[in-house]
Symmetry: C2
Subunit: 241 residues, 2 copies
């Protein structure tokens, strides 16, 4: 597949399989309560914390000097060592703008489903080839429209979050095209068979599943109270068998 | 902690933290459609497939001959090499009774959130001590009431599932006390400090979180269509950023 055909296959497989996640629909439409939006911020921080680790794992497995150099410049960006706000500090700033202190953010218990999904992502990088690890980040090819919708939603619906909270999204937005170009360039150069290209698409689908699953866990935690009536649940407990 | 105090701490931490999962509430009350119950069967099969692997990981890490021998008798049971139906074959029989062929069961794509949770469980066994691995199975101390409620629900509400589908639950029910006694005995013998006992409780909580997260993913898949209106979702897609 040439570049355009590959990008079409990526779009079909990553976006075409399902609609937008209900949590994101609600976020964009301003229908999340303060507590629900804060839960999203607190839980998604675990993803933000682990993405740089995942990227370091990829670096540690890559024998190609040109890829390592490209990947190090990605790390510099995502660790906040260049112009952009880093993934961790940027999210701390968002949390602070939403009234969540750094201490509370760092000390919060993350939802199990979020932990499982994010840990699986780091583990995917550890157990797959470096090229599949790089390819997983192709999911970000579609981050731009989500970032735009999110920034818009924060401005319109969540004005109780201080404007400084948007700095991280703006910073991501400014860097996303260049960052995507790097990942796509590596994948197009090193995936030289159709099979390798298909595996690259599957890796991006995997990363999309991680995001989906994070949102599942946050959604269920936010709404499970209302998903079964209180009377029904009385005296019942979760068990395993 | 003595045995009774330990069991109380286990109950408080495993069951006391939250109510029954909405998916289990609906299953017990007969409110799952055929497709939803089948989805539970198909997806939970991934858990059934991996529990024996998790148990083998624990065995492979244990330097205590007496524990290994006890654990091997557990493996014999769960692999279906004794009186009981094995975890895998037993579940195949349940699926067959629900009109899902072995081929369809084996070939089905498991929901991402289910995969992440189950993989995290196997990974927990790989990265924790053998004793914490054993302790995780203490979550089954509370399996009996769930099994009873489940058998009752199948009989009352899901009579379209052939009665042979209940054989596995019956078989689990017959073995669960003995199996629990083995795990509890090992934990009481080898967790000789309060700290180790607390870690044992945490391990069981972890296993309970795995079950919870599996149910989250199945619930969201079953109901996400109705959680956001079709009009809202039109033309929207899940993206990552």
């Amino acid at each position: 597949m040439g570049r355009e055909e590959f990008l079409r296959a990526l779009r079909t497989n990553v976006l075409g399989r399902r609609k937008m996640h209900p949590l994101m629909v609600l976020l964009h439409e301003g229908e999340l309560s303060r507590e629900q939006l804060k839960s999203w911020i607190v839980n998604r921080f675990y993803f933000q914390e682990n993405v740089p680790v995942k990227d370091a794992v990829i670096l540690s497995k890559c024998p190609e000097p040109d890829v390592r150099r490209l990947w190090i410049s990605r790390l510099l960006r995502r660790e906040g060592m260049q112009r952009e706000l880093g993934d961790v500090e940027g999210w701390v700033e968002l949390a602070t703008a939403a009234g969540i202190s750094r201490e509370r953010l760092m000390g919060s218990r993350v939802l199990p489903g979020v932990r499982f999904a994010v840990d699986s992502y780091v583990n995917f990088a550890r157990t797959s080839s470096w090229l599949e690890g790089v390819a997983a980040s192709l999911v970000e090819q579609f981050a731009k429209e989500e970032l735009l919708a999110r920034i818009d939603a924060f401005k319109r619906h969540y004005s109780w979050v201080a404007p400084s909270g948007l700095k991280f999204f703006m910073s991501r937005l400014a860097a996303v095209d260049e960052s995507n170009e790097v990942a796509l360039g590596i994948v197009m150069k090193y995936c030289i068979t159709r099979k390798a290209q298909n595996r690259a698409v599957s890796s991006a689908v995997f990363a999309s599943d991680v995001n989906w699953s994070i949102n599942d866990a946050i959604y269920m935690d936010a709404f499970s109270q209302s998903l079964a009536s209180p009377e029904r649940e009385k005296g019942r407990h979760q068990t395993a068998s």
